[in-house]
Symmetry: C2
Subunit: 464 residues, 2 copies
């Protein structure tokens, strides 16, 4: 017997064999023996069997797999499962994961699906979907353990044993007073490590961190990072406890938001499916819109250049530096705008900081512009020593034109690149939406005007 | 008494008063009554008092504040505290947070600081710093609760009560066998909700998710998202339990990695301090390097244009479309490269997918190029109807030149934009390092060559 024969078949091989046999019972048994995340990977790998896999699991485990699938697969599963099965699955899904799934669907479909929920789950779902998109309310789950502040630790532990199975987390216990107002939370460790006779109100210190239901999800991300918690309570403006948010949901949100930011900085609409799985026409549609918008903007460069056609005809050498100058402006603009977008995304900069940002970018722009302007000047002067024909006798003035234009264009790129994201945010738009390529386009057009104006100033009477 | 007088003074006001009084005892009392995260915010706000604030707290609370401060503030605090105090603080710091702090410092400083640690903490720290940067080992903490698989639940609970105070988390309990091999983990809820007489080995199912100590931190991020855990065990290749990683550390890593990616896409070295707090000269240094590198690359455009000077002199109109054509190539290149960088960052694409990516980008490039090429063609043709002088009688051929060049340049931009990040990763470099602006520069230079070659083909004998 060789060693290769002894290697147990991989999960994928086992699954392929079973699917081939079409033996429902054995498939079910096999799926029940796997980790949730392994099943989720099987679903990703064999998405044509996605609904079969989910349909063949116990509802509870099916829900655990379902909630970590990509949205596009989730949608297929819900469509393909028999109505009764998909209703069971939706009812079993934790409220926060259900909200995350439903908020991506068209509203007609949502209405249909909500009808299949039990009255209690329907009530919860409608109330969660009532909070604004991107708010903490949308991440919330009502499945937590709340205790009254006048219970003893023994009573708390008893209560945990009673209701713990249905709770999203029992790592943190929430303490409310008789009015339902939130007064503090306790780690489960405190409950276990404290004398069972003690009353909750003696143990807690009434110092707590809570999220407001209307807070932005980005705020939740920051608060979790700063506070080392696995779950945080969510209250309304009257401090009534509404639900909790767990850190794993925040990790998803952080990943999604950053991914969207990166895609938008690159000039694409945010993709809602993985790159390789997205149908190519859909991918094209997400990309072409911004490309066309930017292209139409860039067409202004041809118009702008048209105004300077006579100057170019007189001094063709001026045309040679057009790409260098506009791309340097574009680079400085993208650099500044991505810096500001990123700093706003992590909350380091708010709209009210615009003046501090502007001051810093004026200095940065002058410094960067000077360095590149000086390099550009010497590039022209040096070249003209080796190839005297190319730039002619006015090479010093041509060098000055290139150098000063670079300074102006780079300073202008830095300023518009840093201010545009702040203006967009101020106007209520997402600052990441194509800021970087949009700035590049803006700077291209204005850069040409700067360049030819500087050229007119330095070269009038010499070459122009 | 007006209502305004009744509002209690804000934390900041209280703090300012106390600092003014220089009453150490009252400052200490005040700080001990605040939330850790509130103290951290005070430190951020009044960073000139950072070391005073930290120095006036109990070592345990000081460590909790210290670990959530920005690295630049941490460094100042350690430098400014009396040596004894800073040694106490470093010893108290959880091992994972200590690693995170030390790995940012120059190695001479690390050596000095490590000398101040107790032998046990020194041993742990040296072993953690021994793992490669960016690996799971660097995130690990050895402060967890491990139990033997033949203990009863009552014994487990007893053990938790004994050692729980020193553990980073007691939400998850780790089960090892007599050889120290990891066999499973249990949520604390299982321990509480199970009959105390039961033996651990009867309760666990030996199905577990563990991280390998050499895994990339990005892998840890994915596994956490997929598995709904607050902490994961870390094992070596022999399955020996070495430590645990908690989800809050992963949230930090995710935020940092994405921030770095965005900064690099924008053509800046990753910033290690918040934008507004970074000294402006340091910010300039981070930005100027890539600007100069790209600028030197872009200087090739002037050289390339130089080769076509005669053609431009003959047909000045050709120069008018140079910005439009090269910037369209640049935009398609940045779009493709950011898409691929983002997909690689979240693990959707690996190097082995290069062929699938290439096929998709060929199709996308042809589609995008066709759309913009057609718009470009009609732009020239329409314009020449309104302004017959500008483009002359060969406007159809000029339109064809612009349209075909756009197609070629955009296809080329898409291909180089998508392949460059994959090549960089294959070569062991970070794909996000300035891919987008680098692609733009590459496409600018080659775009000019494509444009003038196409022009030569269509316009030879007509305008050239």
């Amino acid at each position: 017997m060789t060693e290769e024969l002894e290697t147990p078949p991989s999960l994928n091989e086992q699954f392929e064999n079973l699917i081939h046999l079409e033996d429902k019972l054995r498939i079910r048994e096999f799926l029940n023996n796997q980790n949730i995340s392994d099943v989720a990977e099987l679903v990703d790998e064999y998405d044509e069997f996605a609904s079969q896999i989910i349909g063949n699991m116990s509802t509870h485990r099916a829900a655990s797999v379902f909630k970590i699938l990509d949205f596009s697969v989730q949608k297929d599963v819900i469509q393909e499962l028999p109505p009764l099965k998909s209703a069971e699955l939706l009812n079993e899904l934790p409220a926060d994961d259900r909200t995350a799934f439903l908020e991506e669907l068209p509203s007609e479909v949502v209405k249909e699906l909500i009808k299949t929920l039990d009255p209690e789950e329907r009530r919860i779902t409608l109330s969660l979907l009532g909070y604004p998109e991107g708010s903490v309310g949308r991440l919330m789950t009502p499945d937590y353990i709340a205790v009254n502040s006048d219970w003893t630790m023994a009573e708390v532990l008893e209560h945990i044993r009673d209701v713990g199975r249905d709770s999203e987390t029992i790592d943190v216990i929430y303490v409310v007073n008789d009015k339902g107002e939130f007064v503090d939370d306790m780690r489960i460790r405190e409950v276990i490590l404290t004398n069972p006779e003690k009353v909750v109100s003696e143990v807690i210190d009434y110092r707590f961190i809570a999220l407001n239901v209307n807070d932005d999800q980005e705020v939740a991300n920051q608060i979790f990072r700063m506070n080392n918690r696995v779950a945080l309570p969510v209250v309304d403006d009257q401090n009534i406890l509404l639900g909790i948010v767990t850190i794993d949901d925040v990790l998803w949100v952080a990943n999604e938001e950053f991914s969207e930011d990166i895609q938008r900085i690159g000039g694409t609409e945010a993709l809602d499916e993985p790159y390789l799985e997205m149908p190519i026409l859909k991918l094209f549609k997400k990309r072409v819109v911004w490309m066309v918008v930017l292209f139409i903007g860039e067409m202004l460069t041809a118009t702008a250049m048209g105004y300077f056609e006579d100057e170019i005809a007189k001094a063709v050498v001026l045309a040679l530096f057009v790409p260098l100058i506009i791309s340097s402006g574009g680079n400085s603009g993208s650099q500044a705008s991505t810096l500001i977008i990123q700093a706003m995304a992590v909350g380091e900069i708010t709209i009210s900081d615009w003046w501090r940002v502007l001051r810093r970018e004026i200095i940065s722009g002058i410094l960067l512009g000077s360095v590149l302007g000086i390099i550009g000047f010497f590039r022209v002067v040096l070249w003209s020593q080796f190839f005297p024909d190319v730039y002619g006798s006015h090479y010093l003035m041509l060098g000055a034109t290139v150098g000063v234009s670079l300074m102006g264009v780079i300073l202008w790129g830095t300023l518009s690149g840093s201010m545009l994201p702040i203006f967009l945010k101020r106007a209520g738009a997402d600052p990441a939406v194509s800021s970087a390529p949009f700035v590049a386009t803006l700077v291209d057009v204005t850069g040409l005007i700067i360049y030819f104006s500087v050229a007119y100033f330095f070269l009038r009477g010499l070459m122009l």
